[in-house]
């Protein structure tokens, strides 16, 4: 009898595994969840189209499967496929300390350069010394260094090439301002735990707007690992305790957090009545904006790592864009209408990549000797839906995201 049960369970497990694997092939993010190598080769490409050596680029990132992380990984894989690099992602991070371990693992895996999305500034001195000891170049993605002491240590390192970042505080302020423009007075906030540099900056900007426009931050929920269900609960609690609430600010809406907010408001027939502003894009934004479920949203910064990646690739190829560490500033995209969202999906993320093969190649001095750091900064600064539409409006076929 015991053997029969074991045999039955084993069979069921095999069936389950088959179902899981079978469905898993339905959608390919092009990224990985654990440390995994992305072999990037293009059979059709000419040998001269590639860099002289196949450099291995590591990325320490929270995930390559959520909306933001997945889109970034796809773009980096696409760029690596074009210029002939190999990508390694390490998403095995749950704390600032584990990011140090993740960096060590990537160094051990033979990465020539590493891009890091650091939780906080505190881990950077250790990462700097690790990279120096192992002669590995590194950059920061979606981050800038705010601690002056840490900044001095990191920027003194010849292995630190720079960072790409967005004006997080200013975006937080802009979200606050949009609440004011919509006539909101009492706003609840869903954010990350204290210590997350990005969320703290967005929070600070929002608080500044509240102070300036006389709005109240009535309550908050802080959690780094919110699910849709937990977010729905949080919003329901806000609704129950603060009937005067007329706005919800979500500092980071990916990973089903924004979906949870939308669901809770719909369950209580508050869609449109309680205004929602969010940073980070999710899918189906055109539908949500059309339904009035989202009133202000900024995001589209999945291209951020591409610019830090270019700093590393140019350095490794022996054609550095600069002898100093550089900061590349990127703008958020603000979606105002369903049409904006549809254009965004059509030209930037989803159907196409925002930069085609020629544009990617032109960012590398090895292929384009005229490329300069100022030009790269200009490309980043120009990033917007209009910018992408103006470049690819007529010929999006060559940037199709498969």
């Amino acid at each position: 009898m015991k053997k029969r049960i074991i045999a039955l369970l084993t069979s069921m497990t095999l069936v389950l595994s088959t179902v899981l694997m079978g469905c898993g092939s339905q959608e390919n993010t092009g990224g990985t969840t654990e440390q995994q190598t992305e072999e990037t080769s293009s059979e059709t490409a000419q040998a001269s189209d590639k860099l002289p050596e196949k450099f291995k680029i590591g990325v320490v990132i929270w995930s390559t499967t959520d909306d933001l992380g997945g889109a970034s990984a796809r773009l980096l894989n696409y760029a690596s496929d074009i210029i002939g690099c190999e990508m390694v992602y390490n998403t095995n991070i749950s704390s600032p300390e584990s990011q140090i371990t993740a960096t060590e693992n990537l160094i051990a895996a033979g990465c020539n350069a590493i891009a890091i999305c650091n939780y906080s500034d505190d881990i950077l001195p250790k990462i700097t010394s690790l990279c120096e000891e192992n002669e590995v170049y590194f950059t920061l993605i979606w981050r800038s260094i705010s601690d002056p002491e840490v900044k001095e240590i990191v920027e003194a390192s010849p292995y630190y090439l720079g960072n790409t970042c967005e004006s997080e505080e200013e975006t937080g302020y802009m979200m606050g301002e949009s609440f004011h423009n919509m006539g909101c007075k009492n706003i609840a906030v869903i954010t990350m735990e204290k210590g997350d540099a990005t969320a703290d900056a967005r929070d600070a900007g929002f608080d500044r707007a509240c102070e300036e426009f006389g709005m109240n931050r009535i309550s908050e929920v802080r959690n780094n690992t919110l699910t849709a269900e937990e977010t729905t609960k949080a919003v329901e609690n806000f609704l129950a305790s603060f009937p005067e609430m007329d706005g919800i600010f979500v500092t980071g809406g990916s990973n089903t957090i924004l979906e949870g907010v939308i669901q809770a408001l719909a369950l209580h027939n508050k869609t449109g009545e309680v205004k929602v502003a969010c940073i980070d894009f999710i899918s189906d934004l055109d539908k949500y904006i059309e339904e009035g479920a989202i009133d202000a949203i900024s995001g589209g910064h999945f291209v951020d790592p591409l610019f830090s990646y270019m700093l590393m690739v140019n350095k490794l190829a022996g054609t550095p864009l600069s002898d100093n560490c550089e900061q590349i500033d990127l703008n958020f995209i603000n979606l105002q209408s369903p049409e904006d969202a549809r254009n965004y999906y059509k030209y930037c993320e989803g159907d196409s990549y925002p930069y085609n093969e020629e544009e990617i190649r032109s960012m590398v001095k090895y292929f384009n000797p005229d490329m300069t750091i100022d030009q790269l900064k200009e490309i980043a600064a120009a990033y917007s839906i209009d910018d992408v539409v103006s470049r690819h409006g007529g010929d999006s076929a060559d940037t199709t995201n498969n």
Binding site: C23, T33, E34, G70, A266
Partner: protein
């Protein structure tokens, strides 16, 4: 004397939720305890209570299951995906089936390798989390709003009550339930009367999986979407139900353990809601919740020891 015992059995179980309610109601009469607010808190307690019903079977026999959260997420992801093709039936059937299979798999590993449950379930949790992030490319799955009605009143209460009845019957009126309690009361004694304790432990994982499956489709319906979780993040999902079970086990001498679990979870939900109503910063909310858990455990454990000491002294 009989009358006194009955009153005690009624008063003590409801004392904790009543005290918690009064504390917050007195502090924030305008913000806390409105009829709509109470309804929301009851609604929010259903899912964690159902997970607690499943976990309680294991905890009664001193087996820990940290993989329940990962099972819930993986089953929810697969079920939500199939709901796109088979609607509500796909969501319910697939979710419960997958969670039960995962429970069985965890139980099987425990059964075969005979290693401590904490190690087995943490290991399986990591496996299930990874499978969740591989499934469908690790993408989030959103369900159609039209099939999410079980996640709100009255659907969530109907499912909650039916699940409570199921848990009650399994625990009190089945041979399996008797055996679970027998093993919980003393494995050596249970073995001496012919109960195969290892088989019971395996079945606890399987039956627990059914409850996790029910909680999973309710969670997907309630949140409208589900995303994979990695890095042991699903472990935090089982702590509120664990707390409910601890309270339920304490209240078991006064009322049904399953009712005790619900009262425990409901009290914890009130604390969370009350702290938000008081406008406490997010970080402080967690501190207060943690302190409540510690105080409750300290009182309940020390009280038991004090009773034992006084009995020994009396003897």
């Amino acid at each position: 004397m009989k009358q006194k015992i009955k009153w005690k059995n009624m008063i003590i179980p409801i004392a904790m939720p009543v005290i918690v309610f009064l504390v917050f109601f007195i502090c924030q009469p305008e913000r806390f305890g409105t009829p709509a607010g109470i309804m929301i808190m009851l609604q929010q307690s259903v899912i964690n209570s159902i997970i607690g019903f499943g976990l309680s079977l294991n905890l009664v026999i001193d087996t820990w299951d940290f993989s329940a959260g990962a099972q819930l997420v993986l089953a929810g992801l697969v079920g939500a995906y199939y709901s796109q093709y088979y609607g509500l039936a796909g969501l319910i059937v697939v979710t419960v089936l997958v969670a039960t299979l995962l429970g069985a798999l965890t139980g099987l590993v425990y059964f075969v390798f005979k290693i401590p449950s904490i190690i087995v379930t943490i290991g399986m949790m990591l496996v299930y989390e990874s499978l969740g992030s591989l499934y469908h490319g690790g993408a989030n799955v959103t369900i159609d709003m039209g099939i999410s009605f079980l996640g709100r009143s009255p659907g969530i209460f109907i499912v909650g009550i039916l699940t409570y009845i199921l848990a009650y019957v399994i625990y009190h009126h089945t041979k399996f339930g008797y055996n679970v309690r027998a093993v919980g009361n003393g494995e050596a004694t249970a073995k001496s009367i012919g109960i195969n304790s290892l088989k019971i432990r395996f079945l606890c994982f399987v039956v627990g999986g059914i409850f996790v499956g029910i909680a999973s489709f309710l969670q997907v319906s309630y949140g409208g979407a589900i995303a994979p979780k990695t890095g042991m993040n699903t472990m935090s999902m089982v702590f509120p139900p664990f707390m409910g079970v601890f309270i339920g086990q304490y209240l078991e001498r006064y009322c049904d353990i399953m009712l005790g679990i619900f009262l425990g979870v409901f009290s914890m939900t009130m604390i969370n809601t009350g702290l938000i109503a008081m406008g406490l910063p997010g970080t402080l909310q967690q501190v207060v919740t943690g302190c409540f858990m510690l105080i409750f455990m300290a009182i309940s454990i020390n009280r038991e020891q004090a009773v034992l000491k006084s009995r020994k002294a009396a003897a």
